[in-house]
Symmetry: C2
Subunit: 443 residues, 2 copies
């Protein structure tokens, strides 16, 4: 018998490998950070033994979800201002609140709250763009979450950096500081084409290339953004501008991509660039419905993200999956598009692929890091069970996640967070939110 550190025993295992293996009663063996074996319960437990056994009969065991686009500290602004025109929302609420309140502590505490929420709803990896991202990384590290983070880069000063050059330096500092971390990795994140000069965009690209790390930005979120870019860049499509500045590659990740036409999609497919779909945010801000079915049939890797809490207003990837599946059915008048399997892939293995982490997480196969969530199926709204993928997309919500492992470590057990104290975090965020409320004169 081989001694391992943990056995997850007896659950229905959704492996999310190429073959879409489903093991009705299986066991996973974990040694250190890694999955060492996955298979039928008897077969694995005849070979492996462990002092720690999580018995998970009546549970669904699957890869932790990958939230490919969020702004973690913005949990502070959850529900601050809703149902407003974009410019009213930004100019009268979000920007003033950010100018007045964003500092190191804000980014750290807001991210801790985001991590608490994400872990409790089954997300184990997130990709983040905000200000003071070193604090986001520290919070994720404290919570035990995996993340790809990057400081937002644009032409104007932020509460953290005064110039684009400082932003690039800060990013390079992050790259060095977190280079060998098992959980945190860095992404270079220019905010968007419309907020970054060409020189900033090119420097960002150079930095990403120098360290062979991904480059990510908001892209074609709104119709007016597309129209303005076509005008400003003097091209038929903004994507040919991306091509000109050498952005299109397998390490390029574009958030939103709502207003993409067939030619844009084809270029993303040709270069292997990645797209992150944020349906709930796009719906709530009335940005539009991204042409995701076309992206998928064109062979583009499409991942899923919640966007920040100011425009969603939660970080629940299960709800995001449900919305992703349903939105495109109604938009395309076709109930067969975005089937449940496809959507689960977007939130797991394809999410990992988008972040260039597909050799690390996204599937429960030997050699992968043990990022695993366990869903209690013994609930009225999850009864009966005919199809696991359907359940995950259309019936499960984040609160059904019972236990979470990240990098081989149990981070939440029976809905209790083991790495951070959620009540402390809630109290601290509430305190600051009172000040935000007063400052913005919200009654």
């Amino acid at each position: 018998m081989i001694e391992v550190d943990c056995l997850i025993s007896g659950g229905r295992i959704l492996v999310m490998d190429e073959k879409e293996t489903l093991i009705p009663r299986g066991t996973i063996a974990i040694k250190g950070e890694n999955i060492v074996a996955v298979g039928k319960k008897e077969e694995i437990e005849n070979l492996y033994t462990s002092r720690e056994i999580l018995s998970v009969e009546d549970s669904l065991v699957m890869p932790g979800l990958v939230n490919c686009h969020t702004h973690a500290p913005m949990t502070y602004f959850r529900g601050l201002a809703d149902d407003l025109e974009l410019m009213d929302w930004l100019n009268n609420y979000i920007f003033p609140a950010e100018a007045a309140f964003v500092n190191r502590e804000f980014s750290y505490m807001g991210s801790l709250l985001a991590c608490a929420e994400m872990i409790k709803s089954g997300t184990t990896t997130f990709c983040d763009m905000y200000i003071f991202e070193d604090e986001v990384a520290k919070a994720a590290k404290k919570a035990g979450m995996r993340c790809r983070i990057g400081e937002v880069l644009f032409d104007f000063p932020s509460p953290n950096v005064k110039t684009p050059a400082e932003g690039l330096n800060y990013t390079e500092m992050l790259i060095g500081k977190w280079a060998h971390d098992p959980l945190v990795s860095i992404v270079v994140e220019p905010h968007s084409l419309y907020t970054c000069s060409e020189s900033l965009l090119k420097e960002a690209k150079k930095l990403a290339d120098r360290y062979s790390i991904p480059l990510a930005m908001h892209y074609l979120e709104t119709k007016s953004e597309r129209e303005q870019l076509i005008k400003d860049k003097g091209r038929n499509t903004p994507t040919s501008y991306l091509q000109d500045i050498d952005y299109l590659s397998e390490r390029f990740i574009a958030f939103h991509c709502v207003w993409m036409e067939d030619s844009d999609i084809q270029m993303f497919a040709d270069y292997g660039s990645k797209i992150v779909h944020n349906p709930e945010s796009n719906m709530k801000l009335a940005s539009g419905a991204a042409p995701v079915p076309k992206m998928l049939t064109s062979g583009v890797t499409v991942a899923l993200g919640t966007d920040g809490c100011a425009s969603n207003n939660n970080l629940d990837m299960f709800q995001e999956m449900d919305t992703a599946a349903k939105l495109h059915k109604v938009v395309h008048h076709d109930p067969t598009v975005m089937d449940a399997r496809t959507v689960v892939r977007m939130a797991t293995c394809d999410g990992a692929k988008a972040l260039c982490l597909d050799n690390t997480v996204g599937a429960l196969t030997p050699g992968m890091k043990a990022d695993i969530i366990i869903i209690n199926l013994n609930r009225p709204h999850l009864t009966p069970l005919y199809n696991e993928y359907s359940h995950i997309v259309y019936a499960v919500n984040g609160s059904d996640v019972d236990t979470v492992l990240i990098n081989g470590k149990v981070i939440m057990k029976n809905r209790t967070l083991l790495t951070i104290d959620e009540n402390d975090i809630i109290e601290m965020v509430k305190e600051t939110s009172q000040k935000i409320r007063k400052s913005l004169k919200i009654t």
Copy 2:
């Protein structure tokens, strides 16, 4: 001091009255089935005393949600067959499963499961259409839920009734049997214009009129339904046919209404007829997006429903609210439509109004029946709190409901159901679902 049966003390109370009163720290006094007083904590507790006090600091207290359209026993078919063309879904899965499995016990157990799910996600009243509705009523009664139920009426035989006449007789039996029940009331429910002969439709109308109860049916769910009706009925709009057969009145409730044009909406407004919107089902089956903003500006009462579990796949009204708000924003390219307040009204007071129960439930005012839900706000994904309506629509999910009262009685406390044993129900439904799985050769 006046002795009452229960005080709900210290929560943030969303009254849902005409003034949209919000009491930041309030108390509700309940005597028997009724709310007798609502106001600031100190004021109420200086006047009223009770042996039972529910202390609900850090909680949101609001009217129980009203799910205005479902098919409760169809919980049995949750996730049975998804992502399929409508006719494939109906002919190869739903109809064969119904023909083989629907009987009294099926309707009773499926409804018990539905009640468990609904109570646990904050629904206190539901409107149901299915087969063997007496069993649905018994299940609701056992669970302690309020409901408006009606046997589905159409031209062909059902597992319960062989002819339309038998269906009408069964409905009249229900009306008599449940006439004085505090929780159960009846609605006459012809299935739709395309499944009912004119004579059945007219008899149904007579029956509803004889007892002054509502008349409800599916209406304009799909585009092809509209086109076929225009052809068959030889009119510009199906709604003028409804007018001809005298259906339009304040007691007429139409489910779905996806394919309504302005003239249909205006007729509903003129007659005070009600509409029930089911966005998640309409999206999942790719039926379309009902013109709800137009309905609302025209003054039609629009309520919310989940539809059955085979086409959603849950009965969570919080998710339905979230989807309702977001769907219309993206469809209308306008983030200001379907604001959170409007959507919360649809799920509470306007739902009650649609079911002609607005003198009974839907708001927390003195004289109303005490149908109340208590939401624990002390959670990461509900922190911070700026706006209660936004939270309910965009952040809360069904699992955040802690405690539920219906008709003055505590039905769920700290997420434990007090009227029914959910584990027993889950086990029984699982057993039958194994047979359904085998019979339909689902692997």
